[in-house]
Amino acid sequence: MMLKALFSASRDLSPQEVRQFMEARRPDQYTLLDVRQPAEYKRGHIPGARLIPLPDLSERLGELDPHKPTIVY
């Protein structure tokens, strides 16, 4: 149990890798998640990104599909 908390549960993708990931898939095959604050989102976000600010994420996880690949920024 302790080990699981130590190992990383996610992987970093470079911007180039993220672009390739999105180009290779239809937009319904993944979730793009923006965890910044609303004012930051408003200034500019990656097209199609859903906004759930980090402080709200824990209680709003139910809005997302855990079976879809999820890219967070």
Partner: protein, 210 residues
């Protein structure tokens, strides 16, 4: 940078999300297109209960609005090249309109003809929407050239893609959602073509300057 995204990704991973990635460096590192605007901007156009046919009428209004934008932009262009590009962009939107109308007819074989439907769509858009003249004033200054037009067009297409996808999150009906994903795919392909064209023009400009 990217500390928040890493923290969020770790949380998702530990809470049962199967495949989680974090954008290295966060948005600061992102060198692709972005769209401005709040998460709910433009979503007043849909209630969430639309069926596919209704949704297609809304999409028709958006695409027709873009077509009118590029067609009217011609008068403000600097030279023939920019005017030609306006015309090409307007034709692409026209083609999108035809495609959306074909999908609509599939849903409503006895539906109104394209002209009448465009009238309906137009009325819908004008409620709270920005007029074409205002958008032109804001986005394309008098005497704009080809490169400025392409950059503006890419920004507009990124916003259209963004709007379609954000709308899809709100829709309850699966078929209507699928229609939006198809439209979003079109916008993606269009964006890619515009990017390639901009690259080509930038290289030409570089060659001339050098």
């Amino acid at each position: 940078m990217g500390g928040r995204s890493r923290a969020a990704a770790e949380m998702l991973g530990h809470r049962g999300f199967e495949e989680v990635y974090s954008l290295a460096g966060g948005i600061m590192a992102w060198d692709g297109l972005t769209a401005p605007g709040t998460a709910t901007q433009g979503l007043g156009l849909v209630s969430g209960r639309e069926d596919k046919a209704r949704l297609l009428v809304i999409a028709l209004g958006l695409e027709a609005g873009l077509g009118a934008f590029y067609a009217q932009a011609q008068a403000r262009a600097r030279d023939q090249r920019a005017r030609d590009l306006c015309q090409r962009l307007a034709q692409v939107e026209q083609r999108h309109c035809d495609q959306v109308y074909a999908l609509y007819l599939w849903e409503r074989p006895d539906g109104p003809n394209l002209e009448d439907l465009l009238g309906q769509a137009h009325d819908l858009m004008m409620e709270g929407g920005e007029k074409v003249e205002q958008a032109l004033e804001r986005l394309l200054p008098q005497g704009f050239g080809e490169q400025a037009l392409l950059e503006t067009a890419m920004g507009i297409e990124a916003q259209a893609l963004d709007l379609y996808l954000r709308m899809s999150h709100k829709l309850a009906q699966d078929q209507a959602r699928q229609a939006l994903f198809d439209l979003a795919q079109e916008e993606k392909a269009h964006l890619k073509a515009l990017g390639a064209l901009l690259e080509q023009i930038s290289q030409e400009a570089g060659a001339q300057a050098g």
